[in-house]
Amino acid sequence: MSKPGPKPRASATQLTGVYKPESIRDVAESLNIFSLSDQVAGALASDVEYRIHQVIEEAARFMRHARRTTMTTSDIDQALRVLNIEPLYGHFPHNPPTFHKAAPWPQPYGPGAVFFVQDEEIDFDRVIREDKITLPKGVRWTAHWLAVEGVQPLIPENPPAIPREHDMDGVVVNGKPGEPSKLSSIFPPTPPSSDRPSPIQAAKKQQQSQQLVKQVLSRELQLYYTRLTTALIPPSDDVKCIAALASLRHDAGLQALLPYLVRWVAEGVVNALKSGSQDDADGKVLSVLLDVIKAILDNTALFVEPYLHQLLPPILSTLLHSSLPPQHATRLRTTASQTLSHLLTQHSTTYPSLSPRIMKTLLLALVSTDKGGGTREGAVRGLMGIGKEAIRKGVVEGGGAKVVGSECGPGDQSSLVEAVMESFSVICPKSFNPTPLDIGDESDATTMEQLRDVLGDFFAERLANDSQQAIGVLAGQQV
């Protein structure tokens, strides 16, 4: 009854099940039966499929009772046994095979998706060298509290908390993961991984961002971070503070914390300055924060360069802020300038444009008209931090001294004046036996003239006491 040629309703055959007549034909050919009609093959394929399903349905019971959601070869074996069929020996449920999909078939009438078991390639040399074979520990149990009086404790054994429904709304509407840009959190989104919930389910608000950090950082680092920050601020216990700074200065492995620390410092500085209060505590906080920056810069294990642009604002803010707490002002500015100097010496080689940019900022602060004395002082100290050349450019040539001098009354001994004087002594140290400039002497008179010209009257008077220094200061300018 077999007819030559394919059946007319070829499209309908695609509806048949997974076991194709072609497979039957292959089996038949392997048994030396070459004249298998389409009908027979089709009927056999249907029947084989039915029998396979029978076995699978039976095996599913064993899978279910074994409390598993993956069927293993042992389930099939059990099923065959109860169906009174000899089990297929030689398959073990250990290492369940993973199936890989083969590359798509080039021909249009391909057999559909082909799956195969990929053998793992094992490099003998490596296995022998690595010597990783350890005896499994055997079954053991751990106990933890899944819920305490209806509340799930946030311990590592439990999965991270799920956000509440109303937080989910936005995410659900989008149908997409919440974009990182939406997050107001300072923490980068965690890449999704199979054994951890994706950030989709986590943070939308600040409270969740707290939770997100728990996912990003290891528990130990989180703990370290909280310990560190609480030890430093509020600055109460000096011993603790020193220990924390020492740890920050010398400990390795803090790289992951760096962005958070930098952020924390920046926020601390902003808070301390913004509050505007002139009290002691703020000053202490600022000095501690500067110490933290110093410590971070000192730590050789940290790779700070990517965060320099975030570190500079706090330093410059401290340096140039108009109203620092009075008791600490000078010290803070000095420290900030030292830190700045430190930073520049470390990194100006890799960032050649760094010092010019900073200098520009400082010059602006020094020369522009509407700045207070504090800012000016900071700028001068900052220039001192950068170096001789900067002072010369800023204070002497740039007219910084002139501006400052014009604002000071005679006999002024403010810290600003001192700072400028100090900057002069950086260019040219004071002589041991200062001999004042002699107005009568002609050369001295021209020097005095030059001094007045360059530095303004006020500082010219000051420098007039030490001829050597005055000449030095001017000499640098003339060079």
Binding site: P8, L15, T16, G17, G42, A43, S46, D47, E49, Y50, H53, Q54, R61, F62, R64, H65, A66, R67, R68, T69, T70, T72, S74, Q78, V82, P93, H94, N95, P96, T98, P136, K137, V139, R140, W141, A143, H144, W145, L146, A147, V148, E149, G150, V151, Q152, E157, N158, P159, P160, I162, E165, M168, D169, V172, S193, S194, D195, P197, I200, Q201
Partner: protein, 810 residues
């Protein structure tokens, strides 16, 4: 089979043909054309099919009348000559047109048509063929069903909202019968097409059965398969209101009555009529309508689950009378004695005496009330069993019994009360809300097994929480002491003559030991373990019973740490084993469709509870030990009278295998969980379903009630433990919440969408299926631990256990 039909059909067909033949005698064009052929030609001309007429004429002239093609083998002998030639004429025409392939098919098709036992239909078909090609006409048979089902579906979907819930269940049986018909008659491709077209709408409710049906592809399968035979031989029962039934009958007969808007011309046309006729055939032969007088509006959306299906075989038939309704069956079995188990009077007085003494000694101000606790109040509305109703136990009590009773009373006093009902209208955010939550919800201690090889199918805790046992797929059982004590057995080399009293016996204990112990004896995966409850929470249990795929149940002595007895009797894997509440007796459920009652001192079963149509997957004793509940793969649960061995209640409503059960401690309710991811709560007295609780996203493995029956805890393959308020009404949340809720359930699993390892993905049928009912009060996800056992201690601490599932099993 096919012979009588065409023969019987002859007269009807012949009469019109002969009539036309006589009328147009004069126009006969060529001499060698027989009268019938001429009749056909005339007929064609009359109808105006000129081309067809020409074709027929050409073919007849070229071949001559005797040049008939080989007729279908089986039809030749018995069909009358006239009919035969007429049919051949049609075939000829067909052969000319479509390349000769129609003949074989059409003849078989016709044969099939004949075998279907509806002669008038064929006559109508043939009469109305006109000149349409035979192939098309004959292929109408499969499309007939397709058409019929499409119309039925359209009609159901277009019906009024109030009727739709009761009409929808009709679709499924008709679909099944159509599919089976098509397969049985060999229209495999048509059947597959039919399946692909219409199964999706039925998939959510009936995925398991549909999948099973889709595996049937040959007529022989239909004949041998259990489910298809049940469909064939049993009436599918559907509950319907009177007015709804009236509408259905109206549609079936007239094609009217609540038709779909825009149903189109198919409705009044021939096709529509034939489609309805085939629907009607199934309705007449295979459906049974349970027409209720009740108003349609009172029917809840899930009510169909209880009253629909192949019920007749699920309900035990006792004394000849056919009961096909689970309700009437449950009612016919009379009332049950659901009260608490009575305690022997002397044991009671002894317990009270000890309690009173201890109250004096302890000076604990609370313990003086213990005596009052001892006499438990008998709840109203239930009948309490008497001592004689219980399974026989030793007549005199022992010290252990007194200790157990005393401890029971003390535990009851120290119990944490869980009142989830206070949670309604409580805002979790407020501090008060937190306090109420604490009052309402339990503390849950999770025991996670690590480095489990092939899997741990079962686990259990002893009542005094001193021991944990787990059965493994590798055929062994492992015991752990949770208190860190050493588990020691006896040395194997002692002389029994040297044992004189307890002290000398103790000397024979092993000197060294660890806190864990492996019990080896089974030869297949261990599917269930249970600790002997006889010592209650007063002392560690002395025995462990286990069930395995090797068809045995084994009793393990925890004194000797050895296997004491193997109970053989089941022919197939034993899925579950449970002790009766007082020990000594235990029940097993097996793949051989029976549950059995055993006593530890006999190696053969005392009772066999037979009646389930498929595996008995779980067994549980009622707290007063009078009844045994079984859950089965036939989607039902039954309640058996332990002593009589008769079925007293049947619980129909699950749409999947019943995987686990739990009795409420007050003895009134049974909770059952199924592969349909629902937990049903049943009232034992009436046998009615109280509510359906949904929310799990994968199989539910274990259920447990808190001691006051106020809270139900469930654990399952979705790695969560969920708490349900038993007393609340439940029900679905408002529609607006749906996507949110489903999303949240996914979130509970802590899984990124599309992750293959997510168990919930396997069972996620459609979003609507996973809606959490309102009585779900809390969900506690674990990291990756499917919870195989949840259990309450006597003080209402919840213990859960499961094996951690490593993300990569390689």
């Amino acid at each position: 089979m096919s012979t009588p039909t065409p023969a019987a059909s002859t007269p009807e067909v012949a009469s019109p043909v002969t009539a036309t033949a006589t009328n147009v005698e004069a126009t006969g064009p060529s001499s060698n054309i027989s009268s019938t052929d001429r009749a056909v030609l005339d007929y064609l001309r009359l109808r105006g099919f000129t081309t067809a007429e020409k074709l027929v004429r050409d073919s007849l002239e070229s071949q001559g009348s005797p040049a008939e093609p080989t007729p279908g083998p089986s039809t030749t002998s018995t069909i009358s000559a006239e009919d035969f030639t007429k049919r051949n004429a049609i075939y000829n025409q067909d052969v000319q047109r479509s390349g000769g392939n129609a003949l074989k098919e059409s003849s078989t098709v016709l044969r099939e048509l004949g075998s279907m036992g509806n002669p008038p239909n064929i006559q109508n078909l043939i009469a109305s063929i006109g000149s349409v090609g035979a192939e098309e006409v004959l292929s109408l048979d499969p499309t007939d069903k397709q058409e019929g089902f499409r119309e039925l579906e359209a009609w159901v979907d277009g019906s009024l909202d109030m009727y739709r819930p009761e009409f929808r269940p009709i679709l499924f049986p008709i679909f099944c019968h159509f599919y089976l018909d098509l397969i049985q008659h060999g229209f495999k491709e048509a059947a597959l097409k039919f399946f692909h077209e219409f199964s999706p709408s039925l998939q959510p409710q009936h995925s398991a059965t549909l999948h099973h049906l889709s595996t049937l592809l040959l007529p022989s399968h239909v004949q041998n398969d259990e489910i298809s035979q049940r469909f064939r031989n049993e009436k599918y029962q559907i509950r319907m209101s009177k007015s709804g039934f009236g509408l259905l009958v109206g549609w079936l007969t007239e094609g009217v009555g609540g038709e779909a808007p825009g149903a189109g011309e198919g409705f009044s046309g021939e096709k529509g009529k034939r489609g309805r006729a085939s629907v009607m055939r199934v309705v007449n032969n295979h459906l049974k309508f349970d027409v209720a007088a009740s108003n349609t509006t009172t029917v809840s959306p899930n009510a169909w689950e209880e009253s629909t299906g192949l019920l007749s075989s699920l309900i035990p038939q006792s004394n000849g009378t056919m009961i096909t309704d689970p309700r009437s069956f449950n009612a016919s079995k009379g009332e049950l004695k659901l009260g608490p188990m009575p305690i022997a009077e002397d044991l009671q007085t002894e317990t009270e005496r000890i309690l009173r003494e201890q109250a004096m000694v302890d000076r604990d101000p609370n313990s003086q009330y213990d005596v009052q606790w001892a006499r438990s109040l008998i709840p109203t509305g239930v009948i309490s069993p008497s001592m004689t109703d219980l399974l026989p136990h030793p007549p005199s009590f022992q010290t252990a019994d007194v200790k157990r009773e005393v401890e029971k009373v003390r535990e009851a006093r120290k119990r944490i009360r869980l009142e989830p009902s206070v949670l309604t209208n409580v805002n979790d955010e407020t501090p008060q809300g937190v306090v109420t939550r604490a009052r309402a919800l339990p503390s849950i201690c999770a025991y996670t097994l690590h480095d489990v090889g092939e899997g741990a199918p079962c686990s259990t805790f002893s009542q005094d929480i001193s021991l944990m046992a787990a059965g493994f797929s590798e055929s062994y059982i492992r015991l752990w002491s949770l208190k860190g004590e050493k588990l020691t057995g006896f040395r194997s080399d002692f002389q029994s003559s040297s044992i004189k009293d307890a002290t000398t016996l103790r000397k024979q204990k092993e000197k060294s030991g660890t806190t864990t112990r492996k019990l080896i004896g089974h030869s297949g995966p261990v599917y269930s373990v249970d600790f002997d409850p006889a010592s209650g929470s007063a002392a560690p249990p002395r025995y462990l019973i286990s069930a395995s795929a090797d068809a045995t149940a084994r009793l393990w002595s925890l004194d000797t740490m050895t296997n004491v007895v193997a109970y053989r009797g089941h022919q197939n894997p034993v899925w579950d084993v449970r002790w009766s509440p007082m020990g000594i007796y235990f029940a097993t459920g097996s793949r051989d469709k029976t549950a059995r009652l055993w006593s530890t001192d006999r190696t053969s079963a005392l009772r066999i509870y037979a009646g389930h149509l498929s595996d008995v997957d779980c067994v549980r004793f009622h707290p007063n030990s009078l009844y045994l509940a079984t859950g089965s793969s036939d989607w039902t649960a039954r309640l058996w009278d332990v002593q009589r061995g008769s079925c007293v209640r049947v619980f129909i409503g699950h749409q999947g295998i019943v995987s686990t059960l739990a009795f409420s401690p007050d003895g009134r309710y049974l909770a059952s969980a199924g592969e349909d991811l629902a937990i049903n709560l049943w009232d034992l007295g009436s046998g009615k379903r109280i509510k359906k609780m949904t929310g799990h996203t994968a199989s539910i493995y274990s259920l447990a009630f808190s001691a006051e029956t106020s809270l139900l805890v469930s654990g399952g393959a979705d790695w969560t433990v969920r708490c349900w308020d038993v007393k609340s009404a439940g029900g679905m949340p408002s529609k607006a919440l749906e996507p949110d809720v489903t999303n949240r359930t996914n979130g509970v699993n802590g899984i990124v969408e599309g992750d293959d390892m997510n168990p919930s993905n396997f069972n996620l049928k459609e979003p609507g299926e996973n809606i959490q009912t309102l009585d779900l009060v809390a969900t506690f996800p674990t990291k990756r631990t499917p919870i195989v056992n949840v259990q309450f201690t006597p003080r209402n601490l919840c213990m859960v256990a499961g094996a951690y599932l490593a993300p990569e099993q390689r």
